[in-house]
């Protein structure tokens, strides 16, 4: 005769139907008269009912997510941090070089980390650098104040141009886009980067002038891992640009990027 304790220990195997017929019978006899053990069986059957929702392979898959995905995520994050530092370098120089809301920077800034960070700005760059890393796409230029007394002269080897960066977002969709604009020969040179737009989307950049003209400035397919910057030009001079629009294949707006004066 099995005791309640022995019955209970066998109850798990019983709920899963793994006991020999003799033992199963003995337990069933016991359950017919023991309410407490009966309640325990019901509880176990409830747990066991979940087992049927998954397969052995499912459990394997859950235990072994591909580590390379983590590596790629961390790499992507590192790249974004580098980009944050690059922007910060621009912002650090912007802090002393802003004239009338225009950022003076150098044309090779994005490919030459830190080249635009003037020594005069080094002291102030530390705390804001961390901020930029936490929020890589933050609008770094918006609150910059001119400080003519400490303005360094751009290095002679670098062509100094006045460029501005504009950011826009579509909070409903989680899309963001940043357009950097530099005056070029007979128009404006543009670099666009997007964030959060689904892969497979064909994005088109439209430049809208202050008098309402729309100048298509090319399109590209957004891909996974696409940290590439889309480069384009528009014949509109920078001062005539009211906003940029990123639209999809069907002309539906993805992100609007206003140009602040």
């Amino acid at each position: 005769m099995m005791t309640c304790e022995e019955i209970r220990l066998a109850m798990g195997a019983h709920a899963l139907g793994a006991l020999d017929p003799d033992e199963a019978l003995e337990i069933d006899d016991h359950l017919a008269t023991c309410e407490a053990c009966g309640a325990e069986l019901v509880e176990f059957e409830g747990v066991a009912s979940f087992l049927g929702k998954v397969s052995e392979r499912d459990v394997e898959l859950v235990s072994s997510p591909p580590r390379q995905v983590l590596d790629r995520l961390l790499n992507d994050r590192a790249r974004r941090n580098r980009r944050g530092r690059v922007l910060m370098a621009v912002a650090a120089s912007a802090a002393v070089l802003v004239v009338g809301g225009t950022v003076w920077t150098t044309v090779n800034t994005t490919s030459h980390e830190g080249s635009a960070a003037a020594p005069a700005a080094a002291n102030s760059s530390q705390s804001s650098q961390e901020k930029a890393e936490a929020e890589p796409r933050a609008e770094l230029y918006s609150d910059s104040k001119p400080s003519a007394s400490t303005a360094p002269v751009p290095k002679p080897t670098e062509r100094a141009v006045a460029g501005r960066e504009f950011a826009g977002g579509n909070t409903t969709m989680g899309y963001r886009a940043t357009v950097t604009a530099f005056p070029g020969d007979g128009g404006t040179e543009l670099s666009v980067s997007v964030d959060g737009v689904p892969a497979g989307t064909t994005a088109r950049l439209v430049v809208v002038s202050r008098d309402g003209r729309r100048d298509p400035a090319g399109s590209w397919d957004v891909r996974y891992q696409d940290n590439a910057v889309f480069k384009s030009t528009t014949s509109l001079p920078m001062g005539d640009i009211a906003r940029f629009e990123l639209v999809d294949e069907k002309g539906k707006a993805l992100v609007r990027i206003p140009v602040r004066k």
Binding site: R8, L9, A10, M11, G12, A13, A15, L16, A18, L19, D20, E43, F44, G46, V47, A48, S49, F50, L51, K53, V54, S55, E56, D58, V59, L61, V62, S63, S64, P65, P66, Q68, V69, L70, R72, L73, L74, D76, R77, N81, E130, K131, E133, A134, T172, M173, G174, D195, G196, P198, A199, G200, T201, T202, Y224, D248, E249, K250, K252, L254
Partner: protein, 170 residues
């Protein structure tokens, strides 16, 4: 690396550790292709990392599954009928339906099982998934039948707790 950079890395690791397993399983079942599944998991976690605000007011697992599913279907549609039918569906705007809820639940069950101690998981695999009797499992596992029984008992107890932790009450 700065403090902000480290915190960032921490968030990425946490997202991966807590969700990549179930998410990968779910996406692999949808795509049947491990390479594509990896891409979708990566993109989904990246979005979660970039849009923490989207995660604040809803169950994160359901959000991740929804984003992943949309990515899979968007890709599928884009593949089938470019360029006319490129989807511009929003990030996770499709409300969770029954199918999605069931998927979230099943993968939480798989996760609960994976979280058990190895000997508990092993005994459940033997007696439930491989349909072995106590006697057979005893031979396979090399432990006495009494141990198979008690392990099954404690495994189900532990599983009940693990399910409850995931909001699944037996």
């Amino acid at each position: 690396m700065s403090a902000a950079g480290t915190a960032d890395e921490e968030l990425v690791r946490t997202l991966f550790d807590e969700h990549a397993g179930p998410l990968y399983g779910y996406v692999l079942r949808l795509t049947g292709d491990s390479g594509r599944a990896e891409d979708v998991v990566q993109e989904t976690l990246l979005r979660a990392w970039r849009h923490p605000e989207a995660l604040s007011d809803r169950p994160i697992r359901a959000w991740l599954f929804t984003v992943a599913r949309n990515l899979v279907f968007d890709q599928h549609r884009a593949r089938k009928a470019r360029p006319q039918e490129i989807s511009d569906e929003a990030l996770a705007v499709i409300p969770a339906d029954d199918e999605l809820e069931r998927a979230v639940e099943s993968w939480s069950v798989a996760e609960a099982l994976a979280a058990l101690r190895p000997e508990h998981r092993e005994v459940l695999l033997e007696v439930y998934y491989r349909g072995r009797s106590v006697r057979e499992a005893s031979a396979t596992l090399g432990v006495p039948p009494g141990t198979v029984k008690s392990r099954t008992y404690y495994a189900l107890r532990a599983l009940k707790l693990a399910l409850e932790e995931r909001g699944l009450a037996p």
